[in-house]
Symmetry: C2
Subunit: 316 residues, 2 copies
Amino acid sequence: MSESIYVGVDLGGTTIKVGICNAEGQLLHTYEGPTQTDQGVDTVLGNIEKYVRLIVEQSSYSWEQLQGVGAGIAGFLNVRDGVVVLAPNIGFRDVPIQAILEERLGKPVKIDNDANVAALGEAWAGAGKGVEHCVCFTLGTGVGGGIIMNGKIYQGFSGMAGEVGHISVVPDLEAIQCGCGKMGCLETVSSATGIIRMANDAVERGDRTSLAAVDKIAAKDVFDAAKSGDEVSLRIIGRAAFYLGKALATTAALLNPEMYIVGGGVSKAGDILFDELRQVFAKLTPEPLQRGMSIVPATLGNDAGIVGAAGLILRS
Amino acid sequence: MSESIYVGVDLGGTTIKVGICNAEGQLLHTYEGPTQTDQGVDTVLGNIEKYVRLIVEQSSYSWEQLQGVGAGIAGFLNVRDGVVVLAPNIGFRDVPIQAILEERLGKPVKIDNDANVAALGEAWAGAGKGVEHCVCFTLGTGVGGGIIMNGKIYQGFSGMAGEVGHISVVPDLEAIQCGCGKMGCLETVSSATGIIRMANDAVERGDRTSLAAVDKIAAKDVFDAAKSGDEVSLRIIGRAAFYLGKALATTAALLNPEMYIVGGGVSKAGDILFDELRQVFAKLTPEPLQRGMSIVPATLGNDAGIVGAAGLILRS
């Protein structure tokens, strides 16, 4: 009779967002409060506990209905043991957060990195609802993502699987160095950072583009210019889409997913991006692997992290 | 008290090889007989049954100790339902082989494609013994392979995961068309076929190489020439190793395996191949993904298929 609920925590450097989901991944309530990273690890842990208790108290659900708490955290994690190895943005180093929160809350706790958790959110209750095998690409400042197999996050040997932003796709002649130290990663071209860099390069080269009139180019400026027919902007988005298509084709041959989910700020470019992406993918992927397969935009937006975190309890 | 045994079947177009493994994947007995493809599906199925019964009878084990039979088959399979959709080399089309053999043998039967089964064999009892997450590349006429996750073959959405030969790695300018219809697949450069093609190209171009004196170049001729210091042959193997290294780097970012296992005829090139491969991989892979990771030669040779087939019963 009494419905089960799950709390997801999106632990950011500035704010902690918490949300209650039901067993279908529907986000029922959210609450947001300051992280207070400057006041140390204990304060941050105390805030997580406080916000989790608060959101359940303020809801129509009882504490007994809460089945567990999941948290998405940016940084190096030991997912298996529930330890934050290093998370500079919240000032955590070697914090056994799972054990501490389980003790304080008296509920099962799971953690995973923010990109994996967002992927799980989309797979569980967003664009991928009902899909068992999907790969998510989140095109933001960098390119994050996650691999969902048999409905669960795939971790790999040391918990680092799903680094889709570091698939090598750019040929050596055109490749630039990625933040990871390697050359030609997807992240160097298909992220907002990559798009802005290509736009600035074009302006500096003196290419004829409406972007030349923009003071400080943002990815959105490139999308807007492209939508107005600016050839240079169309070419830049085409290039981002081309390399993303190559990365998708590579993962298709390896993982044979049912669905690709593409989210993050760059996905807001819309059809200009997705049309090219689907064409490149179709060209580079053996036909049998394309059957029954779809490439779709993410649907949960910023909520994907909270929803996926809540889903960790059901899907680990 | 009574040890469990597992029979693996390597169902080829000319011969059927069967073998008995114990629960550790040790290959205890083998038997080989003709497939008799020309005598139709029923004869082939009858031969499988006959050889399975025969090898158990001739061993010191009883039929009761047999836990099940696995078969590796080249072709399009519906693994979940145990149906051979299309296998031209044995003349099977829409044959529900699992149900038929389970009925005839009174034991559980599992099937999978030959490349996946060889990968499982190496992971279970060969180079990857004790490893939960590994990716196998078999460099033969083509490039086959398989992904082992949590100790099992990863199938993907429609059973086509692990097509490592069709990772796109060759830049467009140098790419040639693959048998799958796409351009620049790994198989076009790192297979025996790819090596022979590059060798013939070099000879036709008039490159100074000892291969010019060889009548019909085989991959082994290229390895031998390379070992004798032939620059052209070294360059060809270097190129095969380079693109294989790129493919490994890509799978590392996605799957974070603990081990890569490289087998097949081309792997016989030995250190010339593996040294270059490890260097390219190290250059293209983010350092954290390299930690604890190894690239090793396959150890079971042609037995990998039988062993892995037997392993299907334990590892599905």
